[in-house]
Homo-oligomer: 395 residues x 2
């Protein structure tokens, strides 16, 4: 009954399901508190109190026909106005409400902009390690993913390989900074160099190359690290933002796209993205939460909670011999497997009731992703197990 | 910059935009209360009070990490359990929670099931007049829309033409009952005959044909009219439901798919739909409203408000000579244009500050759609204009 393309996905989803079931089985045997699940990017810090307050206030005061009603596919005008003002104040940009399109999370936003841009056969460049879903997002519109191999020294993009991989078919480049899975922030120097390469390739080939910045982790930067705002460095930049992590609202599916006036054919891109949002079946971003996030733009998640986790885990692991680039953002550690095949590492960790994700899923075998958006106690209690695992594997 | 496929859409969206802008201009000149906008299917009846109460209670009592968090892509288990129980109680079905997939409205659900089923080149049959977005939904996955011509006698599907149009490439048939734009409910007799035709064609061609029932208007049936539950008549049926109209929550994007066990390869279809929900970027239906609708399954919108509108408009129009099949459901009247080209009718109506949609948008020229989900006053005040228009056009 199902489509050919979906058959592989179903097989793969059975594997994920099996892993999930195994985790549940472990929890049933040993108790949930004795299973250390570092496999999911689900924030464990609650949404700021203001989210609750604003939602309750709106439900009490606002006309339900407006609060829960249809609006323009791009979202409520006053919401988009507030977001553009906030961005302009924070990053010194010059956006108008017309540059903002409210989306069903960043995943919805990325699908909207890829539908807007891609002709079948167009190439989409990503930098390994990368969020594995990009492959499906590009494939949904006939796009072909092109991977730049990882630079495992510091996990900044390998720009020499990048330049070589840009072809006349390159339509988009996706970056994700702070990065999932490495936690690395792409430096201003990196961004400037990337922009120069893309500009010169556009000229060489007479093409348009869109830089898509996937930014669910923008607000999760530690020690005052700066995350460059990419529209300022390269004209053809589209930003995909999400409130999933910044306000701990992943289940509410709320985010936005920024399509700047500086972008080539920006009027057409905005109009087409609007249509794509509708015909892909999103129609509009959820209405109540559009209005809620517009009132919570200055709110921050409890960054210190994640920061304590980050430091404790990073120190705890490196102390006993694990190798890892110190992450500046997001809530992931990307750790080198003590043995070549990281799946062996993952299996060994599972024997200590520790669940982690093989780097293979991110186009970077030999590494594992450890999501530290968990309770502090989980980290403290898992460290002895991590110590045992490296001892076992190195023997 | 934008994809070839999107260019036509942008042109078309400019036309819609122009219509919308014209409406705004009329409102600016004559005052909003003197413009009679029957063009949108946006419920004007507020959501039931229980929606507000439950949302406020959950925001006050529930753990925000769960309330706004990720869950399985198919939705919260207890929500799916409640929905399956409600359906079983109401329609005598035998669904389990595994048969329910929470979606971003019915539009999201239809995209998910079409992504799940369609191979490029597969045909999707629709019955004119039909909701125009089906064309884009099918095209998103390489599907080709095949239109069964309208049966303008009573707007039940023309089953003789239907049978002839089923080919070995037919993968899906979309029905929408109560129907947008006609308000007609497909009778049990119609459904039985359709099911027989599809079964015999499946056998003849050795293919699987999925019946997709798009049901945003299921609860909007007047005078106690029954709306058959289609999974009971044909095995390979998938239901796409939405709470947009039944609970007046169109902006919140909340609905579900039903994929019954009776369906061929149902396990694969469920697994693939789950993956499709994720990779299309929906990820999951908005979390708070999943929980809210699960508590409001027994709630009804104020059907009497729509019913008064329906009767007033139907009588008001037929009295002065308009021809129209009396609608049994939804909140639309599908009226025969007094002149052959319905765009002339729409233009004439606009001169009386009445906005209506040409039937051409629904694959049925010569008719117009009038959405009566407006205030009662709008209807009363627009009737003299409608009377003038038919007089002018018939002269």
């Amino acid at each position: 009954m199902i489509a050919e393309q979906m058959k592989g996905f179903v097989k793969n989803s059975s594997a994920i399901r099996a892993m999930f079931e195994e985790g549940k089985k472990l929890a049933a045997v040993y108790g949930a508190e004795n299973v250390y699940d570092f496999s999911l990017g689900n924030p464990n810090v609650p949404a700021p109190e203001k989210v609750r307050k604003e939602a309750v206030r709106m439900l009490a005061e606002d006309d339900p026909v407006v609060l829960h009603g249809y609006m323009n596919n791009s979202g409520y005008e006053e919401v988009r106005e507030k977001i553009s003002n906030f961005l302009n104040k924070t990053y010194g940009t010059n956006f108008r409400k017309e540059n903002i399109l409210m989306t069903v999370g960043a995943a919805g936003g990325l699908n909207v902009i890829l539908k807007t841009l891609l002709n079948p056969g167009d190439e989409v460049i990503v930098f390994a390690p990368y969020f594995g879903e990009y492959r499906s997002y590009a494939a949904n519109y006939g796009g072909v993913l092109v991977e730049v191999p990882p630079n495992t020294t510091d996990f900044q993009p390998d720009l020499v390989s990048f330049e070589k991989l840009i072809s006349p078919k390159t339509k988009a480049v996706i970056v994700n900074t702070p990065n999932n899975p490495t936690g690395v922030i792409y430096s201003e120097k990196t961004i400037r160099a990337m922009a120069d390469i893309m500009r010169s390739k556009q000229q060489e080939y007479g093409t348009d190359i869109c830089l898509i910045s996937d930014e669910p982790y923008r607000e999760l930067a530690y020690d005052g690290a700066e995350v460059p705002y990419l529209t300022k460095y390269y004209e053809n930049t589209v930003v995909g933002y999400s409130f999933s992590k910044s306000l701990s609202l992943p289940g509410e599916r709320i985010g936005y796209l920024v399509i700047p006036d500086e972008m080539k054919d920006s009027g057409d891109v905005i109009a087409a993205a609007n249509v794509a949002n509708r015909i892909l079946g999103f129609v509009n971003a959820p209405s109540l939460f559009q209005k809620v996030v517009a009132e919570c733009l200055e709110e921050k998640t409890d960054l210190e909670y994640y920061n304590r986790n980050r430091k404790t885990l990073y120190h705890g692991l490196t102390e006993v011999g694990y190798e890892c680039v110190r992450p500046e953002g997001a809530f992931y550690l990307f750790v080198k497997s003590p043995v070549e095949d990281e799946k062996v590492f993952c299996e060994a960790a599972k024997k200590h009731r520790i669940l982690i994700v093989p780097g293979n899923s991110f186009g970077c075998p030999g590494y594992v992703r450890i999501a530290y958006c968990v309770s502090y106690e989980t980290i403290v209690n898992a460290l002895p197990g991590f110590r045992e695992v490296i001892r076992e594997l190195k023997d």
